[in-house]
């Protein structure tokens, strides 16, 4: 998959989607997130290993990264459907990007769509840890590339 849109453009798309949802009813946002969670491609069991596990206080996230043609591709899973929905948005924004694009990503959409609290410490659901982990992958690949060059 080649991303035509930039990270910022994809973020804006999501923000627009949520503006529309907010005009419906209070559950619409979550119904959308749940739908996205359910439609996230199933993570192969071979990736559900300890080193891919990001343990939250409540739910668990598995995150796997692949590096192809200078771009990082993510796949992930969680035992919470809502967390899975949030992950699928992160993947939509960050997967298929170069390390540099990823490192610079501000990810403002998370607070713009009112999901900031899901990143807060109190939620401890591994989502914040996942954002960090995705960025760590980007850093690691960048360092590796620099070393090679």
């Amino acid at each position: 998959m080649d991303n035509q849109k930039t990270i910022a453009e994809t973020e804006n798309e999501i923000i627009e989607d949520f503006k529309l949802l907010e005009s419906w009813d209070e559950d619409a946002k979550y119904e959308y997130i749940i739908d996205m969670g359910k439609s996230l491609p199933v993570l192969d069991d071979k990736y559900k290993v300890e080193e891919n596990k990001i343990r939250g206080c409540q739910s668990t996230v598995w995150l796997a990264a692949d590096y192809k043609d200078d771009k990082i591709y993510f796949s992930a899973d969680s035992n919470s459907v809502i967390v899975k929905g949030l992950i699928s948005m992160l993947i939509r924004v960050l997967s298929g990007r170069t390390p540099d694009e990823m490192i610079e990503a501000k990810l403002n959409f998370i607070s713009e769509i009112g999901m900031r609290n899901h990143l807060a410490q109190t939620r401890s659901n591994g989502l914040l840890a996942m954002v960090k982990q995705m960025k760590n992958y980007a850093l690691a690949y960048k360092i590796k590339n620099t070393a090679k060059a």
Binding site: E26, D27, I34
Partner: protein
């Protein structure tokens, strides 16, 4: 005064609700339904006022000052000790040590009595349903001393298997540290029986009263507990203060916990003489404001009457249990015969965290997760539960909101 007819000739719950300002707020545009009382209860206006009154009227450091403010603050602070003494029916006021809460109370015993009395090969008994606060301090102690931690198993209903407990007890047992009421299951444990059996083996018993003190009548002399620890914030009082009860002869024989001001009689560089009970265990300037308001919270409970509170909470428990049982795919975890007003449950194919998030979106505060009792969750092979815990100000109408919310969750997740 025009008043709607009370539901029962007991408490006027709607009048009680008026005393809790937080219950007027909305969450996500909905009236707050607060069902996380086992984590911490909300505070009545009188408790909030007590804090403000102290800071605006007689804030001073206690015990040492000779001026009026210091005397007033000291009197109010020490009045809480008397109130706590009566609340749990301790024999003497000196047996009440103020702590930061239940956790600190348990740690105090582990670090003082434990270090002095536990040796290699000794055994400490806890149970499967302990909060991490009543597991970790003993693990630390056992590791340090080469002692052994034994665990009382539970049955599927969430009750201690007493025969197994009696088998665990032996001459090597030095301490039994047991939760009075489980925070995750609501089970009320037969502490009197547990203590009696331990004493026959020469072991002492610490009772974790974090959950029981707000719901049950506590009589430490009748149960013959050696230690009883509880927190203010779970009984309508402020956070950051709690009490540890200990029998006088035990407290006197124990080494000090922390060193500093307040806990000394005389200090020279050669030798320090420690203060008498209870100050021996209260180093440094204590949490004066919260300790003063702790009394106000107990007075608030006493004024309503624990028996009446319990009757109301039992009604809520039975009503909620009956309603929850009708929800398809829902399983209540913890079906003990003796329970306080909290219900843990799991739902087929729905993660507790998702339930918590979706209920919060409807203004309903429940707790989800492992409730700091991971070994207990392992016992049931579940990652966690959703827990609704009720207080005196909760109503059946609020439970109806929860039930409606859960039906909606099922619909959304389907």
């Amino acid at each position: 005064m025009i008043q709607s007819a009370p539901i029962q000739k007991g408490l006027d719950i709607y009048a009680i609700r008026q005393q809790f300002p937080i219950l007027n707020r909305t969450v996500k545009g909905k009236p707050l339904v607060y069902f996380d009382n086992a984590a911490t209860s909300q505070k009545p206006q009188v408790v909030i006022d007590a804090l403000v009154d102290y800071y605006s009227g007689y804030n001073a450091n206690i015990h040492r000052g000779i001026h009026t403010l210091a005397e007033e603050a000291t009197a109010a602070f020490e009045a809480t000790r008397d109130t706590v003494k009566h609340f749990i029916n301790a024999a003497e006021r000196e047996e009440i040590i103020f702590t930061r809460g239940t956790t600190e109370g348990i740690n105090l015993v582990a670090y003082t009595w434990g270090r002095q009395n536990i040796n290699a090969g000794d055994e400490i008994i806890i149970s499967t349903m302990e909060h991490h606060s009543n597991i970790v301090p003993w693990q630390i102690l056992c590791e340090e001393k080469g002692a052994i931690l034994k665990v009382i198993p539970i049955n599927d209903a969430g009750e201690l298997i007493m025969e197994a407990y009696l088998e665990l007890l032996n001459a090597k047992t030095k301490l039994v540290s047991i939760v009075h009421v489980s925070n995750a299951l609501g089970t009320v444990n037969p502490v009197k029986q547990i203590i009696d059996a331990a004493h026959k083996q020469g072991a002492i018993v610490l009772v974790d009263g974090a959950q029981s003190s707000v719901h049950l009548d506590i009589d430490v002399q009748d149960m013959d507990a050696d230690f009883f620890a509880f927190s203010s914030h779970k009984l309508y009082g402020p956070t950051g203060v709690g009490a540890l009860y200990g029998k006088r002869q035990l407290l006197e024989s124990m080494p000090v916990f922390q060193g500093g001001g307040e806990m000394i009689k005389e200090v020279s560089f050669g030798k320090t003489i420690y203060a008498d009970l209870p100050y021996k265990f209260e180093a440094g300037t204590p949490n004066i404001a919260d300790t003063i308001a702790f009394k106000t919270a107990i007075d608030f409970i006493n004024k309503l009457g624990k028996e009446k509170i319990r009757k109301h909470e039992d009604e809520l428990l039975h009503y909620a249990t009956a309603q929850l049982e009708q929800i398809p795919g829902l399983t209540i975890i913890g079906r003990a015969k003796e329970k306080v007003s909290l219900i843990s449950f799991v739902m087929d194919n729905i993660h507790p965290q998702d339930i918590g998030i979706l209920l919060d979106n409807r203004g309903i505060a429940v707790r989800t997760g492992h409730h700091c009792a991971q070994p207990l969750m392992d016992r049931y092979s579940i990652p966690g539960t959703t827990r609704a815990s009720f207080a005196v100000y909760n109503t059946k109408e609020e439970i109806d909101e929860l039930i409606t919310g859960l039906h909606k969750v099922i619909k959304m997740m389907a």
